[in-house]
Symmetry: C2
Subunit: 386 residues, 2 copies
């Protein structure tokens, strides 16, 4: 723990930026280093005197630290109010909730859009490739600064769930309980392929300028929008798309052209256009790469249970969604099997829904009540007031 | 039937181009018209004296008339040798096999890359939007010229299957039997969404030039490659990708960059690059649009069985593949239900395979033997020599 902790406000709804260094660079799994590592984070609630009620939320690919309140710009909503907020399973009345924009992100933490201190120019492609492990080590440094030695819980879905698994593998002693939703212990061939399409769409845009678009005053908006559109389809299920849009038209009759005739086309175009306003193309490249590189078992001789061997004392909640074809239930079952071998206490639920991968972000009553039960029970064991 | 028929050679392995008009323009469903409609086609085998052994093959989105022998350029292989050829279910020794490049295509038939006779420039976006119905009416005109009044069979997979259904709906009296593989009677919201991503990728490429790239001496290669990469993933299944590639690397170790580290990335990039050499970007736009517009029931008050009411006398073989998530079995079952209501004799099989949508193009022994049985039995009833 760091002496600076007590200087940090820990009251409800704090927003902060911590700069590490300049005395020590942050060393990366890939061999690179980052000077003046900056993490932008958000907290909700108050750390109790036992420092036992901290929950770290790990955000997915394109989201950020604004878990429970809207980001200051961009007109977006907070992204996890279904599970985080007063009266929710993760509750600022009881928990000290922390979420930091990931290393590599574009919401205040160091990423490829940041200024490289050694050149005073934006990094662009000179930014080193990062890993999920790098993201998690940076989060651990933040917790040191915030005076949090042990997390009551580390929670996340999708890429957030990868960070959760990485936390358990790298810092098991700092975790009391863990929640891993709609995720996987390694990126599948199909997932790598889908990411590669997005990256190629960005890099095909001449305004990408080999990653130097910031310096050249342009942005690869079209390429990034295409990447987002392709990805967005994978976050939904076929039946959800049929239920929401079917073959409904935008106007009376077909255009007999290439306008958005169908509502689903208009919706997708909107998703692409809105994303460009809030996300950085190079961050998209680096974060998808980190996900592709993620393979927890590989670092432990191919054994996921070996990777999670330190999890014996950790209470785990793993959940998947029946219509999630991006991170299907089989991936969660592999995690559960490895946790069982490791001797962790694991609750697993597969939730019936047609909402696809994005279900973990949406108001799913079964998930909410399961999580309330899981965290309530873990909290009683941890001695937290109900 | 047209008097010109007898002037056309009908011996094995003929290649031909027929130009219709100039006396009568080809009228399109969308209200447009095409002067001098040209169809490039390929035949295999000989039309028997009863003119009762003709099989029309309808090709899928990105393929062409070269069903059973390699196209003259491009170094590609014939695309349906698993089912078409000597000793195969569709056999030039017994059948007179016809396949024409679809209207809107880029392998010799009139499409957006053709010269617009009224401007003497390539059509580009002045090409009218076409439908599956337009494609089929053009094929019917070709059959008239070839002296084929009634097809022993019309067969196709994916978009080819849509043409088969359209044949049955529009010209039931000209069809004795029909084979519809891995297809659907309408394009789903997810399928429209996936096509829209491909179109946006093409149109985002500045070398697309609002469709006028031919005139301007460029080609939207990057956009078309991205469209192909995105589509290619949908033609395979997750398990096939895992089986073929898993997380295997291209080289020893990771590049810690954006090179193709994983074999699946390299494979996809190759698919994109190879496609650009053989396909026209505007054709891709128009053909995907025709598929999106396809909804056979919509023209018959929403009733697919009403659309297929004329199929009572037609022997049908419908097949789907368990791992095909683009045209899942449920879509084939809807076709079968409507055919049953219509009173057609329908064989339906769902084939267990992990090869995804592309299974209909591959050597699937169950499909081959089922089709051999179906066509053998239909042929005996039709009086064809075994």
């Amino acid at each position: 723990m760091n002496g600076a902790a007590d200087n940090l406000s820990r009251t409800s709804g704090d927003e902060g930026v911590i700069v590490f260094g300049p005395d020590a660079a942050f060393l990366l799994d890939g061999g690179g280093r980052i000077e003046n590592l900056t993490l932008a984070y958000r907290t909700y609630g108050t750390l109790n005197s036992e420092r036992s009620n901290a929950i770290l939320i790990c955000h997915p690919l394109t989201l950020d630290q604004h878990v429970a309140d809207p980001p200051p710009v961009g007109g977006r909503r907070a992204w996890w109010t279904s599970l985080v907020g007063p009266g929710r399973p993760i509750d600022p009345e009881r928990h000290y909730i922390i979420c930091a924009n990931i290393l590599g992100g574009c919401a205040g933490s160091t990423g490829p859009g940041s200024i490289n201190p050694s050149t005073s120019e934006p990094y662009g492609l000179s930014f080193p490739v990062i890993t999920i492990g790098d993201m998690v080590r940076a989060q651990a440094m933040l917790l040191d600064r915030l005076g949090v030695e042990t997390l009551f819980c580390v929670a996340g879905g999708s890429m957030g769930g990868m960070q959760v698994l990485e936390w358990v593998a790298s810092f098991p002693g700092r975790v009391f309980s863990a929640v891993c939703l709609a995720s996987a212990a390694r990126h599948s061939a199909q997932n790598i392929a889908l990411h590669e399409v997005g990256r190629q769409a960005i890099m095909a845009d001449p305004d990408w300028r080999k990653g130097a678009y910031v310096r050249e005053g342009v942005r690869p908006e079209k390429g990034l929008a295409v990447a987002r559109m392709a990805a967005h389809i994978t976050y939904l299920s076929e039946s959800a798309l049929t239920r929401k849009f079917g073959r409904e038209l935008q106007r009376d009759g077909l255009s007999w052209g290439f306008d958005a005739d169908f509502q689903v086309e208009s919706y997708l175009r909107h998703q692409g256009a809105a994303f460009v306003d809030r996300f950085d193309a190079n961050s998209y490249l680096y974060i998808t790469r980190a996900m592709d590189y993620f393979d927890l078992a590989a670092r432990h001789g191919g054994s996921l249970s070996a990777a999670l061997a330190g999890a014996r004392h950790i209470r785990f909640c793993v959940a998947s969604f029946t219509s999630d074809w991006l991170y299907p239930t089989a991936e969660s079952r592999e995690i559960v099997r490895a946790l069982n071998v490791a001797g962790a206490r694991t609750s697993f639920l597969e939730i019936e829904t047609d909402r696809g991968h994005d279900a973990f972000l949406l108001d799913e009553p079964v998930l909410r009540s399961a999580l309330a039960g899981f965290l309530g029970s873990a909290g009683r064991i941890r001695g937290l007031a109900g």
